[in-house]
Assembly symmetry: C2
Homo-oligomer: 123 residues x 2
């Protein structure tokens, strides 16, 4: 009862050894989720579409900073923005993004339970 082979959420199995190219690709995408600011933005987007201003408000950061991060997320295909009047409304690109986000949050929070975070405390 120790599945060394990875098994996905619905039966899919990842059996091919991760090669360098794949690792780079995955790393690039995961890095998009590996920052508090972007997670806050995506977290807000998970609740529904929002303008840049609303995202800045939700993430408590400057408009410019949000815009920079949105560009990154856009280039990676994680979000999409459409103009609506003066505003631009952003939303998660598709369900893969939403799922990845949810699963990342779920697992990450569970993993933190046993994670000291700080190297050593003893002395």
């Amino acid at each position: 009862m120790l599945p060394a082979m990875g098994h996905g959420v619905d039966g899919r199995v990842a059996r091919t050894r991760l090669d360098l190219a794949a690792a780079k690709s995955v790393a690039t995408t995961l890095q998009a989720l590996a920052t508090p600011s972007r997670l806050l933005i995506l977290g807000r987007l998970r609740e529904g579409p929002a303008t840049v201003g609303e995202l800045a408000e939700a993430a408590q950061m400057e408009q410019s900073a949000v815009s920079h991060q949105l560009r990154l997320l856009r280039n990676l295909g994680l979000v999409d923005g459409v103009r609506q009047g003066r505003s631009i409304v952003y939303s998660l690109y598709d369900n893969h993004v939403a799922q990845l986000l949810d699963e990342a949050i779920y697992h990450a929070e569970h993993l933190r339970l046993g994670a000291p975070d700080r190297p050593a405390a003893g002395e």
Copy 2:
């Protein structure tokens, strides 16, 4: 047909808005998966326990570099290493790690299908 609310792999739902603390926590963990070298290491461990030397071989990196990354992964609670003679055998800490890895790879690779990665090519 547009689930704004996130839904996890087996029904669990992430409904609480991600606050800054949670975002930081998740980001920290995800960052561990957001680098090619660490993904290669974890990818190898997904196939079963391995010594530092084997990991260095699999990831094509120097022993020292592997050791540094292993410390990081250890501190985050993603891997665990036990001494066996002269070697130290590492393995994924638990199934959460394996699952997170699998799902990250799965989603990330699917997302890359529509991701240009490079800003603009025209000219």
